[in-house]
Symmetry: C2
Subunit: 461 residues, 2 copies
Amino acid sequence: MVIKPYGFAIWEKMQAEIDRMFKATGHSNAYFPLFIPKSYLSKEASHVQGFAKECAVVTHYRLVDDPNGGGVVVDPNAKLEEELIVRPTSETVIWSTYKKWIQSYRDLPILLNQWANVVRWEMRTRIFLRTAEFLWQEGHTAHATEEEAVAETVQMMNVYADFAENYMAVPVIKGTKSESERFAGAVDTYCIEALMQDGKALQAGTSHFLGQNFAKAFDVKYLSKENKEELVWGTSWGVSTRLMGALIMAHSDDNGLVLPPKLAPIQVVIVPIYKGDEQFAAVTAEANKIKAALEAVGVSVKYDNRDTYKPGFKFADWELKGVPVRLALGARDLENGTVEMARRDVEDRKAAKKVVPLTDVVAEVQATLEDMQNSIYQKALSFRQEKTTKVDTYEEFKQVLDEKGGFVLAHWDGTTETEEKIKEETKATIRCIPLDAEAEAGKCIYSGEASTQRVLFARAY
Amino acid sequence: MVIKPYGFAIWEKMQAEIDRMFKATGHSNAYFPLFIPKSYLSKEASHVQGFAKECAVVTHYRLVDDPNGGGVVVDPNAKLEEELIVRPTSETVIWSTYKKWIQSYRDLPILLNQWANVVRWEMRTRIFLRTAEFLWQEGHTAHATEEEAVAETVQMMNVYADFAENYMAVPVIKGTKSESERFAGAVDTYCIEALMQDGKALQAGTSHFLGQNFAKAFDVKYLSKENKEELVWGTSWGVSTRLMGALIMAHSDDNGLVLPPKLAPIQVVIVPIYKGDEQFAAVTAEANKIKAALEAVGVSVKYDNRDTYKPGFKFADWELKGVPVRLALGARDLENGTVEMARRDVEDRKAAKKVVPLTDVVAEVQATLEDMQNSIYQKALSFRQEKTTKVDTYEEFKQVLDEKGGFVLAHWDGTTETEEKIKEETKATIRCIPLDAEAEAGKCIYSGEASTQRVLFARAY
């Protein structure tokens, strides 16, 4: 996976906001090693089962010239005594470090995050959704009490939901995972689930309550105020470059990306329309004024003065890149004291346009950006509502999945067996057990056993 | 290497400034893969010789349960057809990508940077200076002409020097490397060299003019305006967490870190002096006012209200962490309308202190921070001037190295042979051929051959 500069600029905007949210909730960043000794992975039994199957293993530390000519080969004399695993996630290396940092209740809580690359071997990759290496953040916290650790887990799920809804403009369902979808080594996994435009679900972020599992595995204890030795409680939580996939698939249309203004690297592009140098100079002078005025109120602006391309090409190019607002400025506009504004989120090209007096351009752009942020969210929310179906029979369940797609709310008997049968037969999985679901007596669509609330099914990425 | 939160906060401040400087000079960030196929490394002949010797090699992609019980073992059936190298630097993977991106002169220049972790296997590690994995940024640019690529190389060396001197408060010597110290694959390596307080030199950043070496190795050509196929010119440049080592070793004293205000995560700490809850409440109210007033002008402030530690402990703790300004606020100060200010960079504890009227505290703190930034730089500069010696004989050379240390300016005949003999006999290396050196006829201190300028020798980290 190569992330090109424009894509990376979106990721940087995401990172900046998420990092700000983490710091506002008391977290600091730190950095832990890329390589994890193989024996660490084995210490937490379910963790190793979940991650050891798909990891990159470093076995040697040197190459030498190929004695048979040509390139270089692995030096057989440089074999590591213990293999190193390229981190698929960092619980083991971090808890082995926390053991050294934690002695007493005074050392708690530890509220850390790291921005890092991780590797999970994948046979079938899909850009931004499933790549062997991806970029993410992973929070790892340690607490004196269970209550505090659970509260942290829920808080971080809420931070993710806030980011998804208010920055990415992607509505999400908060919930907990069923046992089979839980993080390997967690007691409980909270998640946010989003719906893409093709009707498939995407897990957008997870927050794990680890109980004392990693504290047990790495023998991390603290002396309480009452002078008693206690095991530490843990959480971990992460979002990744997968959010880029979510952003793209939630909002794009046939003309390209549609970016919510809060995450757009370029919020406004100004395209000059001119004939000859004189008109170009006049238009450029006005464009630079508009640019400066917008930048003064914190709007990011690109003036596309390339002379190698025509306006039509530029329009399509910036549409493809999802720039929220386009201003087209020509000689006639200068005469009239106006500029043509087009917003990216309205598909009808005519309806998307509006002629704006130059005197109002800053206010109009600001209002449009704000409106667009809300409007993109509302559109995605309406779509999700439309594509969320309650069903009460397995027949109906399968029919909805095949014909309509989206989220399906159905009763489930709570067993892994039923969950797996449903997955096998329909490719739908339990995305989450929604936190805000009403208690409702019903019967499992598959087994007919009693159930007390509906859970959220979907076919997923 | 684990980077703890306080250390990482310094690195984040460094990153933010450096990143801003890169963007101000027209660069964007991107991301390229961690793993490099082994065959890529071999494509540039001198590059592979420089890096293949010390790299982590991924040979397998799966672990399985150990059939003999216990943990997990490498799955012999999951051997990669071609080994993957954990990037020691990314020229090869980036130029293999640039080949796909570059067709015509319109695609040039490409001005990219990435923030990443890299791995160079090290037997003897030293925290922040020599670790197997480290964090860095690596810029990789592609240009149509040699002039442009050379100008870029020099520009980035100047950006590094600007950052080192004006943010880190570390004076540096700019120069080029001798052939033997040049980056493997470069035509020319520019560098900035700093002097540590123990008299040893530290290379703080390098900027490489790659000529057309990587373009040749990866067959990267462009169609010029004149419709001719031409090889692309390249540069690469990087600084790393090594800068943390430079910062620490350049300024610290026996009481701990001394941080230049521009890079201090906490610029001002307020320590309350009180007896009983009432005094604590009154002091806290005033401390919070001071904190708010300082934060309003962009100064970062920590109010250390921990009740588990006494003021003396806190003073020592923040001194150790290098916080530039300490304000001690007690009940008597409230009566007098004053606060006691202490600056970290003055070693005499008495001289470091000053009683300041509460009404002046913001102005006094701002002036002190500014003065401290300059003063730390001046101190390091004086030290370097004192520790830079011109010598004309080999005897004198060895004597200065052993008795005084520091930089030694001496004539050299320009041969690798002489350079290596000197290194073997004295452990001193040529740090750089300074850019601002005067032309001066002389004789090589080792061979007696003619020389036209002095070069900079030192024992180095």
